[in-house]
Symmetry: C2
Subunit: 392 residues, 2 copies
């Protein structure tokens, strides 16, 4: 068991109609001039953006808006947001959307409050010393960015996708109304459920210390997401299932499911970031497409955890050798991915990668992690390439 810090200051306002409280919350946290940052047209089409601006107008809170945050959000829009905030004297960021809008807003917040190029933080060059205060109205349950310290940005030049983590980037508040996620396309819902599970699984599959309380809560979270992801395949409008998944999304990435371990593995995420940088695939689907190949490559080096996962999360009978049990758990999770219509390899993801593409991604990934990373098994460039090849 390792020492750990746990810091989740984000005030969560969860449930029906909670977006009506946005103006009060902005005032509570001292915002007087807001940048409302959002993604594509869905928050416009749904009328949510209009309702938010109406609420701010009524409360006398000034704002400017900036849309256009795309999945794997772009650095160029971040620069645009920084410039806009400086010009307009913005002192509070409100992200309306999912992880793309939130992550883009965090990057804008770092850029406004720190000197120099904001990309430095994502390029492992230096640490941010502040961030603009940020509030969130969440419309997609997936990245957990609404309670996490992390954000992921893609630099278009070279298609480099990088994550940066800092407590300064934790949101002041997060408004979570499960009803706002009901209009999501089924594919995106399933991608979100996959991403949520992976945030806990990346922390779960380690060779570092672990805590029983962390494991037991992580396992409960994973079982809950699986049950409700399957409900949502059949009935996307099920409020309770939407709520279970939405709250799991925050708890899965706010640090709770990693307390006492060594920080986690995170290689499925790192590998997927290269996929996402090169092909612009949906993050959750990319994770599902790689996970099985990663798991089969590493499980013998992390056998107690894969065995426990198989039994406690996937319901595998504890009969046979540890390896057999572990493999059955991997197969059971792939079967679950299929049931929620997620890909379990690159072909099903729609990616026809050449040998050169795979080599490039493995190389970029290895550079991105300074040569080697992973707790379930330490992976170097050759290992990464082998996993990419197995996932084709």
């Amino acid at each position: 068991m390792f020492n750990f810090n746990y810091y989740t200051p984000t005030k969560v306002i969860f449930g029906r109609k909670t977006e009506e409280k946005v103006a009060d919350l902005i005032k509570e946290f001292g915002g007087t001039k807001v940048l409302i940052h959002y993604g594509g047209g869905s928050v416009v089409r749904s009328g949510l953006l209009q309702r938010v601006t109406d609420t701010l107008d009524k409360a006398g809170i000034a704002y400017v808006t900036l849309g256009g945050a795309v999945p794997n959000p772009h650095l160029s829009l971040v620069y645009e947001g920084i410039e806009l905030c400086r010009k307009e004297g913005v002192d509070f960021l409100l992200a309306v959307g999912g992880g793309s809008a939130i992550d883009s807003a965090k990057a804008i917040g770092y850029g406004v409050t720190n000197e120099g190029d904001v990309w430095d933080f994502y390029d492992y060059k230096r640490q941010a010393k502040a961030c603009l205060p940020l509030g969130v109205i969440l419309t997609i349950a997936a990245t957990g960015s609404e309670m996490s310290d992390s954000s992921v940005i893609t630099k278009e030049d070279g298609l480099v996708k990088r994550g940066y983590s800092s407590d300064f980037g934790r949101a002041k508040f997060a408004i979570m109304n499960p009803e706002l996620t009901m209009t999501l396309p089924d594919y995106q819902t399933a991608c979100g459920c996959t991403d949520i599970m992976m945030h806990t699984m990346e922390r779960y599959f380690t060779n570092g210390g672990n805590m029983e309380i962390t494991d037991s809560m992580a396992e409960g979270l994973l079982r809950t997401v699986m049950t409700n992801a399957e409900i949502l395949v059949k009935n996307p409008k099920d409020y309770d299932a939407r709520a279970e998944v939405m709250w799991a999304g925050s708890l899965s990435h706010n640090g709770l499911t990693g307390c006492g371990n060594d920080g986690g593995d995170w290689m499925t995420h790192k590998l997927e970031h290269e996929l996402g940088g090169l092909y612009d695939v949906a993050h959750g689907a990319g994770l599902a497409a790689i996970w099985g190949s990663w798991a089969r490559y590493v499980y013998k080096d992390c056998l107690p955890r894969f065995r426990r996962f198989a039994i406690n999360v996937m319901g595998v009978e504890p009969a046979g050798s540890d390896e057999e049990i572990a493999l059955k758990g991997i197969e059971a999770l792939e079967a679950f991915f299929r049931r929620i219509n997620m890909p379990i390899n690159l072909r099903e993801l729609g990616v026809n990668a050449t040998d050169e593409d795979l080599a490039l991604m493995a190389h970029k990934c290895a550079v991105g992690v300074n040569g080697a990373k992973g707790s379930a098994k330490l992976l170097r460039e050759a290992d990464m390439l082998a996993i990419f090849k197995a996932s084709r």
Copy 2:
């Protein structure tokens, strides 16, 4: 499922030697003149207090000290602390100890920053508008006060024990080193484990909405505490078991295990508060002594929850009628209490209550909850008296 707020801003620093970071943390949260508040002599005898003051001296942070916080902490000491803080210009509170020192410190913090009598808040008369910033070095895993919004104070005049909850009272930081809990007497360790379990169980036994993710995490937490409480009976110096219990203590009362429900039942706590007010018994032992009688009185009105508890927490086989399963769960928890040497009735608690005592406690309890309270079953004064009688 109900809407909920979740707000746990306390920065947790968990693990070995973490108390060495106390000066940095006080500075991080703006403290310049500190009241170090503690309980009996144990933090003096263990040398912890000396190490803390040495660290503050070295960092150039001024402080005054106030010891003497007792279990069921007294209002008179709170008044003394308020006066001392005002006289000395204290701007930061550091509680070193368990729930008694923390709760007493919270009350001092309310008193310093609000006009009028601080008891008003505990007497349901008005709401606090602020609290002095508070840091904690935890030495007893039990009340969860280090991350919770609540504090419980006893007014000596009339022996009235009352709780008050406010987000202002949430600690800025909590330093948790499981090693600091190793010298606790076995009885107090078991009392702590009981209190920790009850904080989740009070939230679990409801007839309001529930969330699967909350339930599954609550059940994992309860199983973890039980396993490790039994380990600590045999080996009080087991670091990992101390750590599991300590972290469970915070998570059990920071709101996590109640998300989506109706607020919980809380009648075992309310009944025990009357016991604690009248007899000055250890809070955890008082809870254990009452719970079985409460459970048998209410379980038929909350049968699905008692059935689920029996199966998922106590490991009862799901065979027989729901009532049979529920009763087996109640019996199993009482058997666990016995294994960790907790009382399961007033006699074992060492309380020889007269009919008049029981009637007085039931009456005070009913007044304290404005006539009736409880979610598993709504209890009025006659019900409270019946439970007290059954627990004798």
